[in-house]
Amino acid sequence: TETPLLYEMSVPGRTGTILPKLDVPETALPKDLVRDDLGLPELDELSVVRHFTRLSQKNFSVDGQFYPLGSCTMKYNPKMNEDAAALPGFRRTHPLLPETMVQGAAGLLFKLQEALKEIMGYEAFTLQPAAGAQGELTGVLMIRAYHQKKGDTKRVRMLIPDSAHGTNPATCTMAGFVAETIPSNASGAVDMDALKAACEGEKAETVAGLMITNPSTLGLFEPNIREIIDLVHKAGGLVYGDGANMNALMGIVKPGQLGFDVMHLNLHKTFSTPHGGGGPGSGAVGAGPALKDFLPGPVAQREGGRYSFMHPRESIGRMKTFNGNFSVLVKTYAYIRTLGKEGIRRAAEYAVLNANYLKELVKENYPVAYGQCRPCMHEFVASPDLGNGVNTVDIAKRLIDYGFHPPTVYFPLIVKEAFMAEPTETETPETLEAFAAALKAIAEEARTNPEILKSAPHHTPVRRLDETAAARKPVLRYKQQ
């Protein structure tokens, strides 16, 4: 049933909070500055509680459903980490206190930097970026600053494989580079000839670098990764690694050792902090020898048993105020301490095992487009063709009726009708099997009753929504009649 908007429930004179009485003499207000048009709704506390309780129940979530959204790593978010982040000493402390009064917070940041350096094979880390996209921007601005410092201003071309997330080219533009697409070959890997053509000869001196995701968005490990990195390095460019898919590789290989000069992590994916309906996340960035001095500040350091903050020598500045999304970082730290060295590796191992198992279970009707004979990493991208005009969107919507959140669909763009499933290591084989059974039933429905797929979902609070109308005549806020 429809949940009315807050404004629709508003009744003049109500309030949902109990505020203190004024206990000081009044000071006259500057009349010309005071407003009388504050159009907020007026509700009591119970109505607000009921409203958001009901809204919450309209969401699918990891806590409620299998949520195999590819590229998003919707793994279980341990409850103990929430308790850790909610401690008053973290939740209620302030970034502008003197360092002596926040040794615990600074210490935690330092310890987390150290752990991430070790896991990723980097010389330095910043925890400041607030999200993956901001981590990307950080990395690419660092590459920019590196070339600038060398006076190498001709390097404006940033190479980006066509399977990349849309954030990569967008970031590239924000950092003042020109995005240049490198095609994939038939097996889904970077087309080495195209890459060579883009990096060699005359073109070498305009190469700023490469932005690459590994495993790629096809869920495949880039088989020529060392060669690719070498090519770019030889051209004088630097390599940025998009760490969105690190859940396949943590504890398996250190990206720094593979040669990535800089890389961001999505702590909310790989390190299991909750996604919060879209954020806050954290896009911590690690850097190797070429770029470590360019990291944004402040970075935590330890000197003689005390923790403090420093700004790297060639720092690009800062990406946001204060010290990053600290409470996300507390959860990350708790997660790493809980898993330890064995657990970190095992998490990746089982993420990959689960993905391969699921890929195998569904391959008859949902074959992958690339790399059929190779193991996938933490996810796979199928390209289903169930016939009878059934599209991937129909499969996705029908999965909802079966109680599952759909995988990512229509990404990456290079796969037709892409269906990108990432089960994560925190799901049981039984869940994967139930999901595969639903997919099988859907394939059968496509043959026998395609209409039920076209009109899915059937049991949701709302059914398929008119997104075109929403964009054509945007209604972006409630307006009082």
Binding site: T27, R35, P41, K58, N59, G89, L97, L339, V352, A471
Partner: protein, 442 residues
């Protein structure tokens, strides 16, 4: 193994199904010399052990509950109703992701739509996005938006009193762009009028600025528009419960740090970057936006909309690379504004005003102390008869955090203290502060 439900026998069965002997075979493409490194990060620990270690770190920090607290400087200790935490921590909100599938994300989507609606009213603007990382990045993106909207124009005017960290963030974000960033000290209107040439892209006004001072906004929008620029106002959202909205002053873009709206200080993050604009600039705005629509049965529902601006469609031509929002912080702000409502937010702002002015007046009476001139809301700068950092240290020992010594950012302003008073500071707290200042400055 923590959080891995696959048992050993299930693992064997899965490997059999895959026709491999060991999961190591799944990683055969990874360079063998680098595969399976030893990680020097210690063994895994139990829940009790981890929480005990982390709690012992938390205890090393001073927190606002243990002190009389007058510290602001961009991160504020406003009242957060308990219902905000109780509701926003529900698993269905916390462990969902970006609402890509609207049929099973109406909770998140409707909450964002309501946030957009209330923030539009608060700022006096037409369109609000689903949030940025924090106030500073929202402001940086607003400037990029202005640059896109005023193609060819590249002068940005920024008030001298902007938060120093904001200034650094703007410089970082603007590093790759061919822009001239200028600082102004006068009123915004005068600064705009003083612009020579036709290259003004945007003028920013802070409402109030880092030092707590409110600018004179009269005529500012007109003057900026006359020069062809965009007028950006960065505002304190709690103050907008009482003071005229930036929209009413003619702002084209409004940004704000939304932490004060129901979010904890969290040692500086996560915060909430608010951005609002006019209908005219709607399609230039970065970030996620939720719109109302109907389903196939004509029922109202909400979806992510105007996605044609975004990076997953437009790639290198996108208006920004941002592809998430501060979902939970937004939700907290939404619940906060719903609970406060029209009366509550006004009363909160009034309490801030009256208590801050009472505090300033009492401090001004102290020998050797003076309060900076100008209109302020909840935060004001005081010149002390002594070193501010040393004094603050003394007061902290007495469980009073008296404010921010300006030397934190301005090494030469040793005797100045930025004091913040909110609705959480009672008269008794204030009187204690004043008495402690008197005593410590002797």
């Amino acid at each position: 193994m923590p959080y891995i439900p696959v048992t050993d026998s299930q693992r064997e069965a899965m490997l059999r199904k895959l026709g491999i002997a060991s999961s190591d075979a799944l990683f055969s493409e990874i360079p063998g010399d680098l595969r399976f490194p030893e990680l020097a990060i210690g063994e895994g620990l139990s829940e009790t052990e981890v929480l005990r270690e982390i709690a012992s770190l938390a205890e090393l920090n001073a927190d606002a509950d243990g002190f009389r607290w007058f510290l602001g400087g961009g991160a504020y200790d406003h009242f957060v109703p308990a219902a905000v935490g109780a509701l926003s921590s529900r698993g269905e909100f916390v462990t969902a992701y970006t609402p890509y599938q609207p049929e099973v994300s109406q909770g998140t989507l409707q909450a964002i739509f309501e946030y957009q609606s209330m923030v539009a009213e608060l700022t006096g603007m037409e369109v609000v996005n689903a949030s940025h990382y924090d106030g500073a990045t929202a402001l940086a993106e607003a400037i990029l938006m202005a640059l896109r909207n005023t193609e060819g124009r590249n002068r940005i005017l920024i008030p001298e009193g902007i938060h120093p960290e904001y200034r650094t963030v703007l410089d970082t974000y603007l590093a790759a762009f061919d822009v001239t960033v200028e600082t102004y000290r006068s009123s915004p209107a005068e600064a705009a009028r003083a612009v020579q040439g036709d290259d003004l892209a945007a003028l920013i006004s802070c409402y109030p600025d880092f030092f707590g001072t409110l600018p004179e906004l009269k005529g500012a929008a007109e003057a900026v528009h006359e020069k062809g620029g965009i007028f950006i106002v960065h505002a304190d959202p709690v103050m907008l419960g009482l003071f005229r909205s930036p929209g009413s002053w003619g702002a084209d873009v409004v940004t704000a740090e939304g932490q004060s709206l129901g979010n904890d200080i969290n040692y500086g993050g996560p915060f909430l970057g608010i951005m609002a604009t006019t209908n005219a600039l709607m399609r230039r705005m970065p970030g996620r936006i939720v719109g109302e629509t109907v389903d196939v049965e004509g029922k109202r529902g909400f979806v992510l909309t105007l996605v044609a601006r975004e990076q997953h469609i437009r790639r290198e031509k996108a208006v920004s690379n941002i592809c998430s929002n501060q979902g939970l912080s937004t939700l907290r702000a939404c619940i906060y504004l719903a609970l406060m409502g029209k009366q509550g937010l006004r009363k909160t702002a009034e309490l801030c005003w009256h208590r801050a002015h009472y505090c300033a007046a009492e401090i001004a009476k102290l020998p050797g102390f003076s309060v900076a001139p100008g209109t302020f809301f909840k935060e004001f700068t005081v010149t002390l008869p002594c070193d501010a950092e040393a004094l603050a240290e003394k007061l902290c020992d007495k469980r009073i955090v008296p404010g921010l010594p300006l030397s934190r950012y301005f090494p030469d302003r040793k005797n100045e203290l930025l004091i913040c008073v909110t609705e959480k500071n009672s008269r008794a707290d204030i009187d204690e502060l004043v008495a402690a200042l008197r005593e410590a400055s002797r």
